[in-house]
Structure formats: C-alpha cells, structure tokens
C-alpha cells in the first residue's frame, strides 16, 4: 500500500537550499557592496514557489489513489540506530499532511511575495529572506516528517526561526527580550514533547518509531502510559501553539516584522500543536480523559485571550490575542476528537488571519510604523484595497455567516454540542460574540471615523501591488475557503472532512437537525450582537476609552506576566546567583580551600623554627642528639 515517492524530500529541501544561498550571499556582502533587493526577493520566492507546485502534485497524486491507500512515503536513510533505538529520516504524505502542505506553501509563498514590498529598503533584507526560507523548510519538515523525531527537528527549527525573526529589529532591546522569551517558553513546552515521545518510545516504539508502525501498535499502550504520553505531548503543544499557561510569549512575539507575524505567529507555526495532536489522533482517541483536558484548556484559553483582545490598543496585539483565542477553539475541537473540524479551522484561519495581519502590515507600512489604533482612524479613503480586503478578513474572523471562519467555527461549536459538552459550546459561543466585538472595534477605529493624527493621515498611502495582490488572493480564500467543507445543513458534503478521514481516527456522532440548527443559530446571534455593540461604541466616532477597575485589570492582561516573573523567573535567577556566588566558592570549593589553608597554616607554624641563625640550629642539633641518645639507651637497655 505504500508508495515510494522520491521527490517528497525536495519540498523542505528547496527552501532550505534557498536559505543557505541567501544566507551566504548576505554574509558575503554585508560589509561590501549590496546585492540588489530584487535579486534576494526573487531567489527567496523560488524555493517556496517550487515547493507549492510539488505540494499540488502530491495532492493530486494522493487523490488518484484509492481512499484507503492514500499514503506516499520516502525513506531517506537511517538517522540514529543503536540497539532498539532505530530512527529513520523519512517523509510521509497522507491526506492530513498534504492539506497542511498545501496551505503552508500557498500562504508561505504569498507572504514571501508580500515581504518584497514590506521589507523594501531594510538593511537586512537578505537576512530576512534567508530566515523566512529557513522557517518554511522547518515547517515543511515538521509537516512531512514520517515520525515524531523528524517532526521534532522541524518543531525546534520553526522555534529557532521564530526566535531569530522576533529579534529581527534588534536595535530595540525589548525585541531581543521578546525573542528570548519566545524561545525559552517554547523550550519548556519542548521538554514536554521530548518526554512524551520518550515515554511513547518505551511504550510501543520497539517495532519502529514512525507514525505507521506506531498506529499499528497503539492499542498495546497501557492506559496510564497513554495518558502520560498524551498529556506530555499536549504540554509541547501549549508551548508552540500558545495555550494556557504558556501563551505568554505570543503577544510579545509581535515585535517581529509583520509578515513574520502573519506567517509564523498566525497562519502556520502556531498551528503545529493542533497538527501534532491530529497526527497522534490514534493515541488520543484511546485516552478520552486527555482529550477532555485539552478541550477545556483550549476553550478557556479562547475565553481568556478574547477578554484580553477587547482591551488592546496595538493593532498587532489585538490580532495576536485573537490568534491565541482561535487556537483555543482548535484545541477544543481536537480535544473533543473532532479532529477534522480542528484542522479545518486551522485551514480557514490560515487564510483570514494571514490576511488580517498582512492588512495590518499594510496599514502600519502606510503610517510609517505606527501601531496604535487610537492614532489611526478614517483610513478607509486612503487605503481602499486594504480596507476592503481587511473587511473580508474581519468578517471571516468574526464569524459572519457564509464567510470561511463561520463554517469552521460553527463546525467546532456543533461538535461540542454533538459530543454532549454543552458548557464548552456555551463558552465557545460567548467567545464568538467577544471575537466579533473586538474584531470590529479594531476595524471601525482604524478605518472609520475621523483621523486621530492628521499628520500621519496625510502621509498615508496605499501599498504597492506586490503587497496588495497577496491581500486580494488571501481575501478570496478567506471568503470562499469555507465552502470546501460545507455541512449537510447547507447542502454541502463536508469535503475536507472526507479528505482527511483516512489520516484521522475519529468518531462522528450522527447529525441531528435540531443541534445543527441550534449551533448555527447561536453563532449568528453571537455575531450580530458582537458587531452591533462594536458599531454602537466605535462605528461613527471613536474615542479612546479610559479603562478602570476590572477593565484596567484586563487591559493589563490580569498581570499574568508579572505573576510568572515573580513566581518563576526571579526565583530561577536568585537560585543561579546564589549557587554561583555562595555555594560554589564556599561550599563546593570549601573542603579544598580549607585543606589549602591547613597546609599554609602548618607551613607558618614550622616557619617559626627556621630563624636562620647558626647558633639556634646548633641548639636544635644538640637537642635532637640528646633525645636520640636517650632513646637509644632506653631501647638497648644499657
């Protein structure tokens, strides 16, 4: 049933080669003559573009196969092989990874294109494209890897690129701090991932440690070990996909250039956790308790982030919290074993969130790097393309009926109802309302009303076509991507779910019309209420509100960062300072030092006798001789 496909490896390899070439070019010329940005731009786009074509080829090749046999494989070589530990370097494309592949390369390519315009004139233009290519290579490795360890290589790779790109504008130390925070918080999650796969290996890894072998032996896993593995892997996911409690890095990550926020911190990398759990669906279906925990963590993250999102003033932070919130929905879905619903939301979210970020980037670009929404306003006339495309993105995010986000979110909320989790559905509904509210709060404040800062407004200009064309393409996706998985209620056939079904082990409850209507109706009501409150408050004239009490507390994000600082970071720092300043010199090195001191003291004591006068030495001699003769006489009994 397995097909060997020699070109799978090229999909991550091409952007990697691009990264190498661009990186070397950048290093070689950074003190001499500059290579024109255009050349960097073109070279940077080649890798992603060919990867996109190959991804389409993979998709059609899979489609041509019978439904149960849709797997393409490429084993490259044995990577680590010692005793029972056999890990191969290989790639696997099945319906799940091919869907991920398609939108990662598609959105990735568009964002590369957009970056040519957005980053124009930056002195590290070449470096930026090298990093972006490296990111894409790692992400594709993550998606295509044929086992958990190869996935982990990509997993860490995307983390590294995210770190490098968050710190990209390194002139401001705050950005570097944000990069470090992202890396270290992710690293905490990664420990969970490493532990999870280690436990998994010793549970069922003996017959091969790739997904296919693991799926075959998954039933041999004992339940406690299964629960441990599932929860540890989820810890990994909370790091990468910014869930409670490790979500704190993502809003700070907005310090990076906006295309990075769009690609890495919205559309692709942050969804890796969802993908990973869907990939391990064969484990998670066996451990319903783990799923339930994930669903609750997800929906609570969605709620918390949505609350924070209502109070932000930085356009990118609003979008960042909405990303955290939408990721929460996805986890709620995969936690409830509605994997295809979760992945479908990953898919639509990639379009509309990338669109919103790129739109925000276009606004920021137009306003010369102003990100405060209270300094914007009335930009509708100045930026017509951005305005209209962002409107579609906002409608999709807010869950306006018939836009893509509506269908995917509705699918998740419906699954919550169908699996009998009314509470999760209800919280999800509230979050949907809040989402609609904060999305349009941002939209109205930025584009409607009067300009808050006339001088900024006067200088604003629409972005060049290389930026607006990707916006338009993504807008088309944001509007229509939902129709790919149209539910039966709307006369569709759940195409995406069917496509994914061979890769996922999931259980579909029988559809009931009443529940479907309830879910749809609820979503529509939530959308309408959210948008109308936003319109009433900010629709015509936007005034910066002054937050007090609970609102102030929410604006400060419930002081979570401060809490983590006091509970974790500070003790860690004191501990390391204490060990190095006190324990190391006085305790660990103590015995040695005291021994040295003892020698020195005894030296000092004996020094007293060495006075350097011959007559004193003569006395010593006489004394010594007398003692010796005395002893001699004593022993010989003379």
């Amino acid at each position: 049933m397995e097909q060997s496909t020699p070109y799978l490896g090229f999909i991550p390899l091409l952007p990697l080669a691009g990264a190498l070439v661009l990186g070397l070019m950048h290093i070689a010329t950074c003190q001499g003559k500059r290579i024109p940005d255009k050349l960097y731009g073109i070279l940077g786009c080649i890798g992603p573009f060919i990867a996109l074509i190959l991804a389409v080829k993979v998709f059609f090749e899979l489609k041509a196969l019978d439904e149960g046999k849709r797997v393409l494989l490429q084993r490259v070589y044995n990577w680590i092989e010692v005793g029972d530990l056999k890990i191969s370097m290989g790639f696997l494309a099945d319906p799940l990874s091919s869907l991920m592949l398609l939108f990662v390369t598609f959105v990735g390519f568009l964002i590369h294109l957009y970056s040519i315009g957005y980053m124009a004139g930056d002195k590290n233009f070449g470096k930026f494209f090298a990093y972006l290519n490296l990111f894409l290579a790692s992400m594709l490795l993550l998606v295509l890897g044929d086992g958990p360890v190869v996935m982990f290589v990509g997993w860490e790779g995307v983390g590294l690129c995210s770190y490098l790109l968050i710190s990209f504008y390194s002139e401001d130390p705050a950005n570097v701090v944000a990069g470090n925070k992202a890396f270290i918080v992710n690293r905490i999650g990664d420990l969970g991932f490493v532990l999870g796969i280690s436990f998994l290996f010793w549970g069922i890894g003996a017959d091969g440690f790739d997904y296919i072998s693991l799926e075959a032996s998954a039933t041999n896993l004992n339940p406690t070990l299964g629960l441990t593995v599932c929860l540890l892997l989820f810890v990994g996911a909370t790091g990468k996909s910014a869930q409670i409690p490790l979500y704190v890095w993502l809003p700070d990550a907005m310090a990076g250039p906006t295309p990075v926020s769009a690609l890495i911190h919205a559309a692709t990398m942050v969804t890796a956790g969802v993908y990973m759990i869907a990939r391990f669906s064969f484990l998670y279906v066996q451990v319903p308790l783990a799923g339930e925990i994930i669903a609750w963590v997800g929906i609570l993250t969605a709620l918390l982030a949505a609350i924070f999102g209502m109070y932000q003033r930085d356009i990118k932070k609003i979008l960042a919290y909405s990303t955290v919130s939408q990721l929460g929905y996805m986890f709620a879905a995969v936690g409830l074993t509605a994997y295809s619903a979760g992945i479908f939301h990953v898919f639509t979210h990639a379009f509309f969130k990338a669109l919103l970020f790129l739109g925000a980037g276009s606004v920021i670009h137009a306003l010369h790097h102003e990100q405060d929404i209270w300094k914007m306003g009335g930009l509708k006339k100045k930026l017509p393309v951005t305005y209209w495309t962002m409107l579609f993105g906002a409608l999709a995010l807010a869950g306006c009926p018939l836009f893509s986000g509506f269908f995917s979110k509705d699918e998740i909320l419906y699954s919550a109802l169908a699996h009998g989790h009314g509470a999760i559905w209800f919280i999800g509904l509230i979050v949907a309302g809040i989402t609609a509210y904060y999305t349009f709060r941002m939209f109205f404040v930025v584009f409607h009303g009067k300009p808050a800062d006339q001088s900024l407004y006067d200088k604003a200009h629409e972005s060049p076509p290389v930026m607006t064309v990707p916006l338009v393409i993504l807008a088309v996706g944001a509007v229509f991507a939902g129709f790919l998985n149209l539910p039966h209620l709307f006369g569709g056939h759940l195409m995406v779910s069917h496509w994914l079904s061979p890769s996922l082990v999931e259980h579909h409850p029988d559809p009931t019309l009443a529940l479907e209507l309830l879910a749809v109706g609820g979503s529509i009501v939530a959308f309408v209420i959210g948008v109308s409150i936003a319109y009433r408050k900010f629709g015509t004239k936007a005034q910066e509100p002054v937050y007090r009490g609970f609102h102030k507390f929410a604006e400060n994000k419930f002081m979570v960062d401060e809490l983590f600082g006091a509970l974790i970071v500070t003790p860690y720092r004191y501990l390391s300072q204490g060990i190095s300043r006190i324990i190391e010199p006085w305790v660990t090195d103590g015995p040695l030092k005291s021994m040295a001191l003892l020698y020195r003291l005894s030296g000092l004591a004996f020094k007293v006798f060495q006075v350097g006068l011959v007559r004193v030495y003569a006395i010593y001699m006489v004394l010594g001789l007398s003692i010796m003769s005395f002893l001699l006489i004593k022993t010989l009994n003379l």
């Binding site: 290093i27 680590i80 530990l85 690293r187 060990i579």
Partner: protein
C-alpha cells in the same frame, strides 16, 4: 597477552605519538619563531592526516586492540611499551590528532611571548594525550597521564591571564592529588595479576567485592576530578578562565575526555561488581552536575567561565550515559565525548577570537560585537545551538541517545523514570544560558561599548572554525559512520559486563534506590 592484540605491519600509533616529540626536538634548535610555527603546524597536520589511516584501516568486526605494537621497556618489572586502539579509543585518538593543528592556528597571533616554548609545550602535550588514549600498559598509561600535567601547567602558568599562578597551581595539585590513589590501585592490581601491568589482563577478574570497591574509589577520584564531575569541578573554571585559547581548547576537548575514557577503559571492566554497586551514587552525582552546572553557568558574566560551567553539565550527561550501562547510554556517551570536544572546543575558539579583539572575556565588553562581525556570529550561533542540543546538530544525537538509554535503564528496572526526568531540566538550562550569551554577543544592550573598529574574522580564523562546523552537522545529520566504529567494542564491553557480574554478591549499598 597476544590474544588481545592485532598487530600492525607499520608502527602507526608510535608514529602518531612520537612525531610531535620529534617536532619539539627540532624546534629546540630553531631560533626563528616564524619557522617554529610552521614546523609545529606541519607536524601536527601530518599527524592529523595519518590519524585518518586508523579510521580507514579500522576493523569494525573485531573487539581486539588493533594497530597494536609491543616493546619491552623495563623487563625486570614486566613493564612494556604496549599500545593499541579499540572502538572506545579510536574516535578520541583521531579527535586529538585533528584538533591540534587548529590549536596551533588559534595561537598564531594570540601568543606573542615565548612562542617557541609555547609550541614545544603543545607538542609534548600532544604526545602525552595520544599516548594516554592508546596505552595498554598501566605504567605507560600512568606516566603519560601525569606527564600531561606539566606542559598544561606551564601553558596556564606562563601564558595565562591575570590569576594564572593560582589557576595553574590549583589545576596541578587538584588533579595530581586525585591520581595518587590511582597509582596505589595500579600496584595492587599488578600484585593481584601475577605481576603484569598489561591492562586487558586485569579485566574481568572476580576480585573480592571489598577490594573492588576500594579500587573503584581510587579510580573514581582520579577520573572524576579529571572529568570533572560535580563536586570535584572547581579547578576547571579557574583553569579555563586563565588559560590561553589553545590551552582552553585542549582542556575542554581532550583533557576532560580522559576522565570519562578512564571510567570506560578501567572502572567498568576491571571492577564490574563495584561499578554495579556504586552506580546509583555516580548517576545521581551526574544529575547533580547537569543541574548545578546549568544554574552556575546562567549566572556567569565571564564567557569562558560560562562555557566552563556548561562543560560540567555536558560531562554530567556523559557520565550519566556511561553508568546506566546499556548500549544507547554508552554509545551515546562516547559520541557525546566527541560532540563536546567539537562544540566546546569551537566555542572556546570563538571566545578567543573575541578576546583577541576586545581584550576582555566579559560579556558586557563583548556586547553587540555581532553587528560588526557577521561571519563570526554565524559560526557562533551554530556552535551555541549545538551546545544546547538543537536537533540536527551533533549534541542532539548524543543527548537523545543518552536520554533514551536512561529511560530504558529505569523502565527495565521496573520503576518510574526519575533519573531521565531529573536530567531533562538540564536541557532547558542549556537553552537559557546559551541564549543569554548569544543575545549579548550578537545584539548587546542599549549602551554597547563602541566597537565600530572591530574587524570580522579573517581567512585564517574561518579556516579554523569551518571544520568544527562541518563535524557539528555531519554527526548531527548522520552519526551512523561514527557509531559503526564504536559499536563492536561497546557491545563486547556490555556482554562481558553482564557475564562477569557476580550475582551472588549483593551487598546493597544503595538500598533505598
């Protein structure tokens, strides 16, 4: 004796040992410092190339000592000059030979005082180091083991930093004190083995458990100080900080490996029962070292100190791998010895390059040099990632194998994998301290010192660093060829270990464990 050896037609090992000594002798009669540099570079390069012959000619099937040579040294005491290598030592010998030319290149402009004497010290060092890894006679081993201290003492004491005297004396006395009991143990073994100093003769004897434990303690003190294991590591930061770049590289890459090599070569085969008895103790000390080294490294502002403490943590992983006594663990440990040699050696070279420019090892003085040294920071980034165990680099493979082995160790013993869980935070700490250093060097803070005059690394320095990067990636992406070399010997070691373990003796020293 001969049944343990596969003789070679050409005395390749002796050539490797004595060529550097010949170079040192020649240099005695050369006055020009310039020529001395070329002579030493030439000889070490020849040794490096010749060492590759070992790899080509190595038989991966046999577990005997290969390329063996034998000559009578002191016949009345049956002390012989016997050398040979197996899977445990081959990579260490080759790594030593390969690193030396780069140490000379790294000292090219760094050492300005008494260049000739410095190079002679390096040459004597190389002879002793290669000798230690190939010696099969315990007296030969011990002589070379102690002989190494003298050139290293001089390297730190003459060409070191401001506190060089303190550091060199501490280094010398601490390591010497550790190995005095080793000599006692050697003499006891000689007496037990019908007056033979031949190392393979001493292995797999069923000595009484009490004596085994005493011998183990003697071995442990000597080797643990050399590794250095927590809490015997305090000489290391002092020595590293004061030593010139080449000295630090030799210390980190090669000298530290002698301790772990000693455990593998002597402790496990000669006193297996004591090894089993005292294993838990060594394992928890390793874990303590991993955590302690990480925390201490996090608080350092001196780059060399930071890397020195990180070495304590990394070597903790190696001793952990050795003493879990399974295949993944030991092979991972041997690979990790090489990895640590490559990455930490490269990191010390990098710090040396910064020091040559700013004349300071303080992070605050190096803050932001990355802006003016883009090629340099690219290398530095790779080495730092390798050091923190990033997938795709060499240390990931080694650490992963050791962790997998640790899991297996616990699970086979039917208990919860506490040991592996305890080791894992080390990885987080490594990320924290490495990033802290990287961030300061690449970007710095708001008030970086003015470094606009700093020049990026030159062609010579690129030539020094590039091979290290090559090995970082090669071992990281395809460790197979390296593991093939060590596999047979490790398998044999483990087989013997289970076979010769005396089960009747179960004086359980660590009952609660």
């Amino acid at each position: 004796m001969d049944q343990h050896l596969v003789f070679s037609s050409f005395p390749i090992l002796s050539t490797l040992i004595f060529l550097p000594l010949v170079a040192a002798l020649i240099m005695l009669f050369v006055n020009s410092e310039r020529y001395c540099k070329y002579i030493s570079l030439c000889f070490t390069s020849v040794v490096a190339v010749l060492s590759l012959v070992l790899i080509v000619g190595f038989d991966t099937e046999t577990t005997k000592f290969q390329f063996a040579e034998k000559a009578v040294w002191i016949s009345s005491l049956d002390i012989n000059y016997v050398v040979g290598i197996d899977g445990i030592s081959i990579l260490l010998v080759v790594m030593t030979a390969l690193i030396m030319p780069f140490c000379i290149l790294a000292s090219w402009s760094y050492i300005k005082l008494r260049v000739k004497a410095f190079l002679i010290c390096l040459m004597v060092m190389e002879t002793a180091m290669i000798g230690v890894f190939v010696a099969l006679d315990f007296i030969l081993f011990y002589v070379l083991w102690e002989a190494m201290l003298i050139p290293m003492y001089l390297i730190i004491g003459i060409w070191g930093g401001p506190r060089k005297i303190y550091a060199s004396v501490k280094f010398f006395l601490y390591t010497l004190a550790g190995s005095i009991l080793l000599l006692v143990a050697i003499i006891w073994l000689y007496w037990q083995n019908e007056y033979s100093f031949f190392i393979p003769d001493m292995m797999w004897h069923h000595y009484a458990l009490g004596s085994q434990i005493l011998v183990f303690i003697a071995f442990f003190l000597a080797f643990a100080i050399k590794v250095p294991m927590f809490p015997f590591h305090t000489w290391l930061p002092a020595a590293h900080v004061e030593a010139p770049t080449a000295g630090s590289v030799i210390l980190a890459s090669i000298l530290l490996k002698m301790g772990t090599y000693g455990f593998l070569r002597f402790a496990l085969p000669i006193v297996p029962d004591a090894t089993y008895q005292l294993m838990p103790f060594v394992l928890w000390l390793s874990i303590a070292g991993i955590i302690y080294g990480g925390f201490t490294a996090l608080a350092q502002n001196d780059m060399k100190k930071l890397i020195a403490y990180s070495s304590v943590g990394h070597m903790g992983f190696v001793t952990l791998g050795i003493f879990i006594l399974n295949k993944q663990g030991i092979e991972g440990a041997i690979l990790q010895m090489i990895n640590h040699g490559v990455t930490t050696g490269a990191l010390f070279l990098c710090v040396g390059m910064i020091y040559e420019r700013t004349h300071s090892r303080e992070l605050s003085m190096a803050a932001g040099v990355g802006k003016y040294m883009p090629i340099f920071v690219t290398f530095l980034t790779f080495f730092s990632l390798a050091s923190l165990g990033f997938p795709g680099t060499n240390s990931f493979v080694g650490e992963f194998m050791i962790l997998a082995g640790t899991f297996q160790f616990d699970i086979e013993a039917g208990r919860f994998p506490w040991l592996a869980l305890a080791a894992i935070p080390g990885a987080l700490l490594a990320a924290a301290y490495m990033l802290r250093m990287l961030q300061r060097i690449i970007w710095g803070g708001v008030d970086n010192p003015d470094q606009s005059w700093i020049k990026d690394i030159n062609a010579r320095e690129i030539v020094i660093l590039a091979p290290f990067l090559f090995f970082v990636l090669w071992i990281g992406l395809s460790p197979g060829p390296f593991l093939d070399l060590i596999d047979a010997s490790v398998t044999d070691l483990l087989q013997n270990l289970t076979m010769h373990r005396t089960h009747s003796l179960s004086l359980n020293l660590m009952a609660p464990y």
